[in-house]
Amino acid sequence: EDKVVQSPLSLVVHEGDTVTLNCSYEVTNFRSLLWYKQEKKAPTFLFMLTSSGIEKKSGRLSSILDKKELFSILNITATQTGDSAIYLCVMNAGNNRKLIWGLGTSLAVNP
């Protein structure tokens, strides 16, 4: 059964800290792995990863995929209170446009 497991479920840090969010997966037909950020309401797209070892970067956020060990990490450096959100890892599996959503990691950044 295809699945996505994120850890930790929640995290509390202070502004300026660096955090690493983890996503492990099991999938029979890997197409891509996605990261979304969900603030108070709608998820917003962050990254799409398809190849192992190639880092995707956007400002203080970066992500990398390991297709051999079946995991991805999302790093946030110099965290700010505006980074407080739920970060969702999503698998794109198979040919039927099925997205498998993880439960998310809830990040709280305190001033």
């Binding site: 998820p43 917003t44 969702l88 099925k98």
Partner: protein, 114 residues
Amino acid sequence: NAGVTQTPKFRVLKTGQSMTLLCAQDMNHEYMYWYRQDPGMGLRLIHYSVGEGTTAKGEVPDGYNVSRLKKQNFLLGLESAAPSQTSVYFCASSLSGQSYNEQFFGPGTRLTVL
């Protein structure tokens, strides 16, 4: 651009009542989706559409119907609401099948069924 909008934002129904949730997007996207989000579960796809006049079942379609009469609108209907349908409903859209990984979400509708 308003992006993806949903109406209503909140709704309380009694068991057995019906309602329609409206999703509209102004980005000329081909693909549209309806999800539900429940505590302890990831987002689950209810129905989706790959273009005007088409609809398809997602992961949890039972108890819901959809229509896509116009490209910019995607309607989700509950014919006879049940307490198990209490959830937050999100609509999303993507440009095409090639880029459906990047979905743009609406703000959500919080539905409570008593």
